[in-house]
Subunit: 347 residues, 2 copies
DNA sequence: TATCAACACGAAAACGTGATAGTGACCATC
DNA sequence: GATGGTCACTATCACGTTTTCGTGTTGATA
């Protein structure tokens, strides 16, 4: 349907060969100035642009990065994409996005659909189902076929590739230490099931920070978010109930650390409903980077994941691999600092 | 770098011609069963997948949709993308995303970069700067070159193409009527500059709803959000000041209608700070679909934009045009209903 | 005047695929 | 035994580029 002009058409129109036209446009000195001027003027007039698909085929690369993420309606992920997009554009790459919706099958299909030459490499964050299944063959095959992959945030150590993570454990420690330093004595934790790597690392940080302050780790103060096929609203309702129950059993809880934003907001909602004052009675810190924390009332103190920067870093790593600036045999794991952003839910 | 196997390599390996291999894989009955089985087994073993770039070149289409949006870290837009992605995948299309960051130049560059055969059509929401400049030549040229465009949400009537919008005026009226029906008498409006079409339509709805209830429209109750190159935080601070000022001048304001989420949240923050009770003293309704509204405390009553559905509808329209199911000469504007979601900031 | 270089351009191949149009070999029919 | 048809496969082209290798013409040099 597209009626864009091609080299062939220009050649025919000007009674020249395709090669001459091509060389003229690339300003080859094999071609006389007169001819070059003529061709260039003609091309400009008809708004000639080389067909990128033909170029891709010829150069055997697509100048495109495939991004596969669990969900896009999530500030963290969309912010990572913004970072990838920014860096990719700088280097002349395009970004194609596809969503796994946390599903293993979708992830497999997506990666296979894009691995047929459509993209030069992948940046991805592993779907929950995949982490649960521990089936990473699709990643391994892709890598075996010479296509580089960079994983960010939700990674697996079973696949040899470049990775970008934040220092989840250290970030969690920063959060817990902040709570301890502001006088909190009994800190509850809201976390995910262990198979989500980031969740378990943050849990580890929580435990370590407590131990370093000689506070015994009490498993009873931990709520693990169930996700057996519930939708988000149901999950939240369930979590809310768990929080109420926990607060009834342990009336001296004076702080919550939540490994993600929505949990923290849920904590805050419940806590405020029950008549506690935040942060006077109960402090809250979330692990996240989202808008909810920034604009909630009161605004949440958080551990920032630097999503945009993660995107930039991932894109840099991938492009270096694609352009063979870095050796494809060696893989690096880049750890980014998690920084504490103090807002209104801590003293 | 990619070492994916090609038809040629299979042919060489099996001492067959490329055509035979190709036909075998496509199960042509010109080829003997033995040969077909052999080739298919070989191809499967080496995980042959046709190179999509070659196919794109041959078929002169990319099976790819280009999406250009002002920003992705915005629940509305990322939700639209999720809708587009969902529908596109169903129909065998891929989605490449690029961001204009509200900049005219970036929008132009992005559309030109993708219009060289990389995509079969565009789904886009116009950048603010473009709306301000009123320079739509890049869209018109793209359409002239036979590439279909579907605009959603932020559209312009100066470009002839399919469009998907929500009924902004009607949505605004629903919101204002809800406020009136719950006893509000003096409703303030927080809106954008008029060049943002959706903003001005919502303003119109606000005015109409008032007039239909025989309430005089008072321009003094309207705050227009300035955006002369300020960053978001500065914008919000400024807006906050305007709200405080307005409330001082008009102490009997009992409701706010805000045309976007962040403004509404800002209103709520200021109002709560000043000691008003929401919704007892002041009701608030926002025009949006975001997480902030859903999870804010109290949760905001909103007019939903049905972002996901807009994405789906846009993708359907575009694919129909690409596949020439609908005539490229005729353009339809699809209006989606805006529905009121009652939460806790209205009585 | 034969030789050679510079000049200005064209032909052809390649990237990977799939469709159209051959091409031999074999068998059956009249 | 010439004709025709089926079978199983191959050659070629086209998609739009860029690049390598020609090639014919001109003018200068020995």
């Amino acid at each position: 349907m597209s009626n864009r002009i091609t080299l062939k058409q220009i050649a025919k129109e000007l009674n020249l060969s395709v090669s001459t036209v091509s060389k003229s446009l690339r300003n080859s000195r094999e071609i006389s100035t007169d001819t070059k001027n003529l061709v260039q003027a003609f091309a400009k007039f008809y708004n000639y642009k080389p067909n990128s698909i033909a170029l891709n085929l010829r150069n055997r690369k697509s100048k495109t990065i495939g991004v596969i993420i669990p969900e896009i309606t999530h500030y963290f992920f969309s912010n990572v994409i913004a970072g990838i997009d920014s860096e990719a554009n700088k280097k002349g790459y395009r970004v194609v996005v596809s969503l796994s919706n946390e599903s293993f099958d979708t992830e497999v299909v997506n990666i296979e659909t894009l691995a047929n030459g459509s993209v030069d490499g992948f940046i991805l964050s592993v779907a929950k189902e995949t982490l649960l299944n521990k089936d990473y063959h699709h990643f391994k095959e892709t890598i075996n076929q010479g296509m580089p992959i960079v994983m960010f945030d939700r990674i697996t150590n079973e696949v040899a590739c470049d990775k970008v993570i934040i220092d989840d454990k250290e970030g969690a420690k920063k959060a817990v230490n902040k709570l301890l330093n502001t006088g909190c004595k009994k800190i509850a934790l809201v976390t995910t099931e262990d198979y989500v790597t980031v969740g378990s690392l943050r849990t580890k940080g929580y435990i370590e920070a407590l131990e370093e302050s000689n506070i015994a780790y009490d498993p009873n103060l931990v709520i693990k978010i169930q996700d057996q096929g519930l939708n988000k609203d149901e999950e939240i309702t369930l979590l809310g109930q768990s929080i109420v129950k926990l607060l009834h059993q342990h009336r001296d809880i004076d702080a919550f650390f939540a490994v993600n934003e929505l949990s923290a907001i849920t904590v805050m909602k419940v806590v405020l409903d029950l008549g506690y004052k935040v942060p006077e009675d109960i402090s809250i810190i979330a692990f996240t980077d989202g808008v909810l924390s920034k604009y909630s009332i009161p605004a949440l103190t958080t551990v920032s994941q630097h999503a945009f920067e993660m995107g930039v870093a991932s894109a840099k790593l991938l492009i270096d691999k694609i352009e063979e600036i870095t050796n494809s045999e060696f893989h690096i794991t880049q750890t980014m600092d998690a920084t504490l952003i103090e807002r209104q839910t801590t003293k």
